[in-house]
């Protein structure tokens, strides 16, 4: 079976790939694995030494959990979430990275504490991706002092461990104009929000790659000359990362996870076959 992968868009945290000759079911498995199974680092629990700010400990711990941490190196360095399950936290450097946050204000001072103030203690590679996320605002004479323990986790456990914020598989459009019906009224060209249709040389020309499948052209056509179909074996996979992993890393890891799940499934099938004396 021949297949091809083409990079359609790569900017910032976004990656859009065009797959040809890859089954939809496989891509959907990869899409789901990107959200639920690709591991990344996030703050798991927080030890508060002092917190006199207006936000409760629980709210601050929740906000810390949602801050994306750099996980590219951590994927190799730290043990998987399954191996770390039930491990006591402080002792295990193979499972946990420690970060600390200390801030205080003087009389008459108001200060915003940012994610950039969350400093790595044990591992300089595990640090907040964005420096400018406000964590809390301290009023005059207030103090916050805490240690945060981050570990690898998966999106199935809590969405804070999901490296992909957007992960979608979409069909690839095939726009066709029935020329024997078309009156060249131009209504479809007018309603299209992405200029996927154009009136050129006395014909309606279609640009399939621009189509977002909104069907407005189909609905607007008075003579039903516009047909919106899909290409059988072409699909777009779009990944937007939270910043903890590069989108291409997410795709690579997701494929690895799907493959290992399939291998496991095959080995179970084999063992059943062996048991039944096959």
């Amino acid at each position: 079976m021949s297949y091809s992968i083409e990079v359609v868009e790569r900017s910032g945290n976004r990656l859009k790939l065009l797959f040809k000759g890859v089954p939809l079911a496989l891509l959907n498995a990869v899409r789901r694995a990107s959200i639920e199974y690709v591991p990344s680092m996030a703050v798991d629990f927080v030890v508060f030494n002092n917190n006199t700010s207006v936000l409760h400990d629980e709210i601050i711990a929740h906000r810390l959990g949602l801050i994306p941490l750099n996980s590219e190196e951590a994927l190799r360095k730290y043990k998987s979430p399954e191996e770390c399950a039930g491990k006591s936290s402080e002792s295990s450097v193979e499972c946990y990275a420690v970060l600390s946050l200390h801030a205080s204000t003087k009389e008459g001072e108001i200060k915003t504490v940012y994610s950039g103030d969350l400093k790595p203690v044990t591992d300089p590679d595990v640090r907040p991706v964005y420096e400018g996320i406000p964590i809390v605002v301290l009023g005059p004479n207030q103090e916050i002092s805490l240690e945060a323990y981050a570990r690898l986790g998966r999106g199935v456990e809590h969405i804070k461990w999901s490296p992909a914020t957007v992960s979608t598989v979409t069909y690839s459009a095939r726009l066709t104009i029935k020329e024997e019906l078309c009156t060249l009224c131009g209504k479809c060209v007018e309603v299209c929000p992405r200029n996927a249709l154009a009136l050129e040389n006395g014909k309606i020309r279609t640009y399939d790659e621009r189509c977002i499948l909104c069907r407005q052209c189909v609905n607007s056509c008075p003579v039903e000359a516009v047909v919106l179909g899909f290409k059988e074996d072409e699909f777009y996979l779009t990944i937007e990362s939270s910043g903890s992993l590069k989108p291409e890393t997410i795709v690579r890891e997701a494929f690895k996870i799907v493959i290992s799940k399939l291998d496991k499934f095959l080995s179970i099938l084999d063992s059943i076959k062996a048991q039944s004396g096959g």
Partner: protein, 67 residues
């Protein structure tokens, strides 16, 4: 809300780091929609996080208990 959420409630994209840039832009008199475009906030789930947010914590800290 008391303080800008770290992530968009719907899609999970990080928005917290863009809040102050958004406020600055709007204070300069720019159109809020244009400021969000410049910040790369594309989806309407993320955009509503900004335009519907009121940063109450700035006022709250003045009424906090004495330590």
């Amino acid at each position: 809300m008391v303080i800008i959420p770290v992530r968009c409630f719907t899609c999970g994209a990080v928005i917290g780091d863009k809040w102050e840039a958004f406020v600055e832009g709007v204070k300069l008199g720019k159109d809020p929609g244009k400021v969000l475009d410049e910040l790369g906030v594309k989806r309407y789930c993320c955009r509503r996080m900004f335009i519907s947010h009121l940063d109450l914590i700035e006022e709250l800290v003045m009424y906090s208990r004495k330590v």
